[in-house]
Symmetry: C2
């Protein structure tokens, strides 16, 4: 099993919007140098999720950990992502895909945000 | 000076989307019970930012800390928010407004997200 992490975010017209995503990807890479990390976007930015999955599989991944970098589980994560995962599974039959919860749902992230709001981080 | 915190997020059609925002608001309230915390949304959910500012001023706030609960500084935070803040300032001339950076730009939040991605949080 060769794992890859795919960070999946909304995307925006403003190119600067992707910067924290790149910082997150770099943080993850620094902590786990053996696991390739890819970024993917729903709109305005590339690659899309199937495109990033393609890159990961080309790089030898047989297991994709798809992490929605969203503040919450909304329609995009609950409806759009499963449709895209189905397309990826159709195309790459042997690849295992694990879909995580949106990062903003995690208590650790909420705690960190609260500390920043309170000026304690 | 009576401060209030206004957490401002994008909003979504899916009502569940607001849940992490409410959890964040509760975390901040629990840590600073003396500071009222309001939530505001750009679209799909209410109140909007001027509406939340109105609530805060009605509750006695003379200083608003506006915190964009966004993953990054994109067009919404950089273009839309200043326009709304100008409207709020026009309406509430004596009120001081401090606009913070988007929470997702903060290293503490990026670090927390990286830990969750890596299964270490």
């Amino acid at each position: 099993m060769s794992r890859a992490i795919v960070l999946f975010a909304h995307g925006a017209r403003d190119p600067e919007w992707a910067r924290p995503m790149q910082r997150l990807a770099e943080s993850v890479r620094a902590a786990e140098p053996g696991v390739p990390v890819f970024t993917a976007f729903l709109e305005f930015m590339t690659p899309d999720l199937p495109g990033a999955a393609e890159q990961a599989v080309q790089a030898g991944a047989t297991e994709l950990i798809v992490v929605p970098v969203f503040l919450a589980q909304g329609g995009h994560v609950r409806r759009d992502v499963p449709v895209m995962l189905a397309r990826i599974r159709e195309r790459h039959a042997g690849v295992r895909i694990e879909l995580r919860d949106a990062l903003g749902e995690s208590q650790a992230v909420i705690d960190a945000m609260a500390k920043v709001v309170l000026g304690k981080a």
